[in-house]
């Protein structure tokens, strides 16, 4: 097992329901780190090009069972892990992951996969140094996603679970089950819980503060500074400065 082996890089993951705002927050974290001149990279769940084709076909033709759904995503993740995430960590970069193995733990367990099997399946993947869980009441997350009556994809809505024939109702039930799994994972994997109902600025502030506290950021600077970093300095470079801006605005 390679979990927690001494690799110079740092891995930060965000997890949470669709509509929890985690992607916005990790984007802001990335901007903050890169503008300060740190070696930071971003990776998303399910974005490897090689396996994507097969995943897409399986989803479109509804060929997937809980087991093959889980395995194909794990294949996809392995490709991304071995070719991107692990090399980046080995070079001593900060890697930001929008969803990580916990997404699979939650989603696949809801579909009925054995929880121990899932943990073994992904045991090669290094545990993040920090995992932020964006905790949000189900209604709020659902409201953010369903407000525009989006076209929900079959698996996204959890239609394969036969919870309801109505995609929106199915999505609601499915997300509720995923949330329960996330609650279970929070303690097991030591998630940092972020109140995702707070103002986005406040959430970002909390995230940055934790990152500053837990990671010796000075070790992750590019040897060559980022081109505009100095010019772009308008006073948001540390959490304290940003807190004062937020406080000013709230005053």
């Amino acid at each position: 097992m390679t979990a927690r082996s001494p690799i110079p890089g740092k891995l930060i993951a965000v997890e949470g329901l669709d509509g929890s705002g985690k992607s916005t927050q990790i984007y802001l974290l990335k901007r903050w780190l890169e503008l300060r001149g740190y070696k930071v990279f971003f990776t998303e769940w399910n974005s490897s090009t090689i396996v994507r084709q097969a995943t897409r076909k399986g989803k479109k033709r509804q060929l997937l069972t809980p087991t093959t759904f889980s395995l194909i995503h794990c294949t996809d993740f392995a490709d991304r892990y071995d070719r991107t995430i692990l090399p980046l960590l080995n070079t001593g970069a900060i890697v930001l992951a929008d969803r990580y193995i916990y997404t699979a733990f939650a989603r696949d367990a809801v579909r009925g996969c054995n929880r121990d099997w899932l943990r073994s399946l992904y045991s090669y993947a290094r545990r993040p140094d920090l995992t932020f869980y964006f905790k949000v009441p189900l209604d709020v997350a659902l409201g953010r996603i369903l407000e525009g009556r989006p076209q929900l994809k079959y698996h996204e809505a959890g239609m394969d679970l036969n919870l309801s024939t109505d995609p929106y109702e199915s999505f609601r039930l499915f997300q509720g089950m995923i949330q329960e799994e996330y609650e279970r994972l929070t303690g097991e994997f030591d998630f940092m819980v972020v109140d995702a109902t707070a103002a986005p600025e406040q959430q970002q502030l909390d995230v940055r503060r934790v990152v500053e506290e837990r990671i010796e950021l000075g070790n992750y600077r590019w040897r060559i500074p980022a081109p505009y970093a100095a010019a772009l300095d308008f006073g948001y470079w540390n959490a304290r400065d940003m807190q004062s801006k937020v406080d000013d605005r709230n005053a």
Binding site: A54, L63, T65, T68, D79, C113, D116, S120
Partner: protein
């Protein structure tokens, strides 16, 4: 009836509802494996057994994609293992299990053991592989056709006039030509099979002999199993 699953099994599938028989034939390319599967199928169908055959890279889900990925050889051994596991699981759930429920004899032209042996010689961890393939059914019988590497090379060359890149282990080649690598790689694979023999209750069959003789041995054993 298969004797259950190795570890976690498949969600929603109970081994007790599987009435058929799962028979596995393992061996390298050129071991006569596919010939034997074909002969067994003919014999079983002649005597009225409904059969289904499965093999590697034959799933509807990823069979073709997996083949394509092998051509390029850019996936890590770990990714390939998981890709193969996906292919295996798809066939397990969509072909093997339904056929066994219906009382068929399932003939597997290779099974998880080849996949594990290949992964192990590439540095895969045994415990992890056992967990990944813990979804597999324990077959009613596993026959491993052992053929000396030199004879395997000869048979492959006779059939195709080239040695297959993967069967020669060229992705993990050392110095030397393709022939030397083929021999070395097949020896490593055989060592893994020997290590699995008692763990998974294989019957090793001497595959150096003529196909007819091997067939008589196999069908004799299978008929006993089907009684």
């Amino acid at each position: 009836m298969p004797r259950g699953f190795y570890r976690s099994g498949l969600p929603g599938t109970g081994a007790e509802e599987l009435r058929g028989k799962l028979i596995v034939v393992e061996g390298a390319d050129g071991s006569g494996r596919s010939t034997q599967v074909q002969m067994l199928r003919d014999a079983l169908e002649r005597s009225g057994h409904a059969t289904v055959d499965v093999g590697l890279k034959r799933s509807r889900l990823v069979g073709r994609e997996l083949d394509g990925a092998m051509q390029g050889n850019i996936l890590s051994p770990r990714t390939l293992t998981l890709f193969y596991a996906t292919d295996f699981a798809d066939q397990l759930e969509n072909r093997i299990v339904p056929a066994l429920k219906a009382g068929f004899v399932v003939l597997a032209d290779r099974y998880i053991y080849t996949l594990m042996a290949r992964a192990l010689v590439r540095g895969g961890q045994r415990e992890w592989l056992q967990e990944v393939y813990g979804i597999a059914l324990v077959p009613d019988a596993v026959f491993y056709l052992g053929v000396t590497p030199r004879l395997l090379a000869e048979r492959n060359l006779r059939r195709n006039s080239v040695l297959d890149y993967w069967e020669a282990g060229m992705d993990i080649r050392r110095s030397g030509g393709m022939y030397e690598n083929f021999i070395r790689y097949q020896r490593l694979i055989q060592r893994e099979f020997r290590a699995m023999e008692s763990l998974y209750d294989f019957e090793t069959v001497n595959g150096n002999r003529a196909p007819k003789i091997i067939f008589r041995e196999l069908i004799g054993k299978i008929e006993l199993l089907l009684k």
